[in-house]
Symmetry: C2
Subunit: 394 residues, 2 copies
Amino acid sequence: MDNPTTHGLEEELRACKQKIQNLLRENEQLEMEMQQMKDPKNSLSSNLIPNECERSMSGEVNSENRYSRLMALQKMGVVSDYTRIIQCSVVIIGIGGIGIVAAEMLSRCGIGELILIDHDSVELANMNRMFYRPEHSGMTKVEAAKQSLTIINSDVKVSGFNLDVTNLDNYDIILSLIQSDTPSRQRLVLCCVDNFSARMSINQLCLEARVPWLESGLSENAVSGHIQFIVPGVTACFACAPPLVVATGLEASLKKEGVCVASLPTTSAIIAGLLVQNALKYILRFGKCTEVLAYNSIQDFFSSYCLKPNPKCSFKLCLQRQEEVIKNSENCMSNNIFLPQQDESIQLEEVSKDNEWNIEVVEEVADEMRENETEVCELKDLTNEELNELLKIS
Amino acid sequence: MDNPTTHGLEEELRACKQKIQNLLRENEQLEMEMQQMKDPKNSLSSNLIPNECERSMSGEVNSENRYSRLMALQKMGVVSDYTRIIQCSVVIIGIGGIGIVAAEMLSRCGIGELILIDHDSVELANMNRMFYRPEHSGMTKVEAAKQSLTIINSDVKVSGFNLDVTNLDNYDIILSLIQSDTPSRQRLVLCCVDNFSARMSINQLCLEARVPWLESGLSENAVSGHIQFIVPGVTACFACAPPLVVATGLEASLKKEGVCVASLPTTSAIIAGLLVQNALKYILRFGKCTEVLAYNSIQDFFSSYCLKPNPKCSFKLCLQRQEEVIKNSENCMSNNIFLPQQDESIQLEEVSKDNEWNIEVVEEVADEMRENETEVCELKDLTNEELNELLKIS
């Protein structure tokens, strides 16, 4: 078995098998694209989300209405217009432990369109995280996701692309998927990949497309995670200051035979939840979007902070976006966090208005609250429209 | 139509239909119980978790091993023995937005046994939260959950009971489900109900059974939630100090025709994640279990604190448990948080050991970290065995 000729052949065979698999995937991808080209409704260059005009959401309270408890957010004054979600397209890159949970959440919320990008297949070893089931084993993740998400909510247009974001050949097609060609359609990217180079590619793509994105990640020992909200030119880009977890270099050291990173359904779902919660705050304009939020499960410790754009960032496009933003926004920007319309946000105090038992938040908690508030900087009075304006100027 | 006789008849008919439905459920429940009695392996009074002896978890890294990424927690030193999870039974009361996600997480983690209790049915209006699918509509929640969870991981023994925890007639059967009759089998209760009286019933049940439990809840406007770890006699019980969200009285004021509470898949999954993460820390003895952890999504604000048992608690059983604990533990208890074996927990510093980029946690974050540490009290040197000992003494 250790004969060098046998060893060489085995290796060649393995490479061939890998190539066949890649070709099969490419084929599948081509077929999918062709299908979309044939059907004008599904065309990549189409300006309309199918059924966008026909779709509606009723606030009626009955057991058959899947949107009643979401429209209740509007009745309760949390959001001013929940149906805004129908006009939004979210691109999710990476539909593993975090991305697929994010996709399910957005589907259940009735998002207008979901565009899923991944080049991996489902295996039994993925069953320790949410969503995929044993019967999906062997299917591509985009195929399995599309199938299940359509069952969960057929109102949502879901398209899947079997593409590797780190492959330069795919740059243009992914860029076209990220770029919105209708100003009325809001587009957001969720980055749910598991490696540094994929994050760097997405950083470049979103800088080029001037599209806001939310990055997410988990530590290799499964007990920590983070999310980061990145608005090109407004906040630090991913290259300005990558998060600690990614920067530790653990990533590379763990790619050894017989060793795999740990993962937990809990940590991935918590991070997916925080990610989509911030996406919803951005899309539906309520509350305050956090720039960086880190979670450590060992002590249930959460920290949030801002990252200013680095004036010496290694990404030229970042410097360009920073300049554009400074030029066009000196009057409405005081710091580097995007805050949706202030008047629509709920204050903590309001939640406890009907406090008939007179239970009070104790002083030390209140202190911490105030501390948190000063820690997170705000960009007041900047609406989504103004932000889009800022980002569109070239 | 408004004729008083017609109205009376309609009401009677509605009551009859309701009764039929209740009877059908009772029937179903009885059949389930009978089935369990016939099969000695499944008997409620059986001391053995079926397949407990045969079940094993391999740490081998291959695409077919569903436990490889969980056993990696052991390889990486996060937990000392992941297979301990096989010996554990978790009772989940309420399998709506939070409970069903908790059940899926524990199934995927390979928990020994899941006992689900709920008396509700699935409807399309539940589709805005995770797990249930349109094809489950009309099924009881326990039936739908059992069916899907068995597909997800057939290693886990799942049993479902269509019971209302607030109905006094069910007290004894639920008590027997909660009580563990084998000392080697660890038992934990997760409370995922949506009303105050159900929480009070569970409080009474767990005090009587001397079983630790984790309570959880969401605010009616869907943007906040909390978890609370309750160890009878050691921490505050639910009646000692109910959380603010429940205490506001919003609950009752919202039960009007045409009005429903709001809910989001994000907030429920985040709370379910935090709940199960703390359950895992307790079962697998790593990290620090938080007593009360509250989340407000509007500002991504998290607070954690301790609640000491109330020496004037209105629940007699709580006072009795407090006395027992004081009597038997003066030497090993300094405060009211349960901390699993200290030597198995990971410190935040360890995560960043390989920090080749020399990125540091900035001072204000470190300060907050220290603050958090002093805020959460610790019960050092108390192992699970010692805790069980404490709770078993009558």
